[in-house]
Symmetry: D2
Subunit: 102 residues, 4 copies
């Protein structure tokens, strides 16, 4: 069993630069101990659903402290089998690209 | 405090027609007792974050029973104040549209 | 052939209340003449992909005029057959719910 | 001016393993010449909106050829200023994490 989520969170009431808030969320994710990968538009986390959602909830709780409006998007891909998919999903696409011969 | 989510869930391994699965999720949402609204691309639910996520989790648990791959997307809009936003958000946009004089 | 999108757009640099901007986008969508439905977390539009994306592009162009940062999410469901799905998708789920006998 | 999108596309009628289809989209993105980054849950692309959407459209056109139902999600972050954000967004969060002293 494996869930990979892509997760994005930011305040809507703090102006153009939301970096410090994104970093606070990233810190919570890193400290969770789950496999994760920072990306330009969000962070991927792999684990059990209930645990990952616990991390997402902690991020929201943290931003709520000083943000009046917080927006959050999440996409989850759940598979019965598989593990380490946060790496393998990208690798298998890259492999297919190479097999194309270019 | 108010969270409105837009939530979409479907199996990836059941072919073109995923309606029975979407209906199973809709039934779980309806039975949750939360304010909700079915839409063409997902369902909106309003409530407390932890409770809403509990509903989402039950939907995922249900589909996992007989689906090998489940995809789920969620967007959440959290505001410090406000309630009944599942109705008021649309109404306030409609009001602005009318004030445009057309 | 039918594409239904769910589309959401708002500025990130205008504080908590983004309603006037959402209404500007809604006005552009309404004037496009496509089947659409306002929802609490976004607007659904049905049509041909290239045309719908033209509407989305006009919304972005409009908000860019006075917003320094704009966030936009979009989910699209493309089916080879089908039409009028913006209504039928919800109706078929409601029908399944009724058949459940509750 | 800079738009970064996160983009995900897959067929809903091809069973659990959608890798060959994702790879076809990735190939189209690579050949577009835009800055891009493959991730576990989607691909980020940076460029001008109209051009990026052209790439997304080509991916959809390609999958439509042999898929009866295609699902696509997209999030876009548009900023008036900035360039090379596909790298800098992650780097600035990593920098903030390091400054936390851990």
């Amino acid at each position: 069993m494996s869930v990979v989520i892509q997760f994005s969170i930011f305040p809507m009431d703090k102006g153009v630069s939301v970096n410090p808030y994104v970093a606070r969320a990233a810190k919570i994710i890193r400290e969770s101990g789950f496999r994760y990968e920072l990306g330009p538009m969000g962070t991927c986390i792999e684990g059990e659903w209930e645990e990952i959602i616990g991390v997402v909830t902690r991020c929201l709780e943290d931003l709520k402290k000083d943000c009046d409006r917080v927006y959050l998007t999440l996409a989850a891909d759940h598979r019965k089998d598989g593990n380490g998919r946060i790496q393998s999903k990208v690798k298998s696409v890259e492999r297919e690209l190479r097999q194309e011969g270019q």
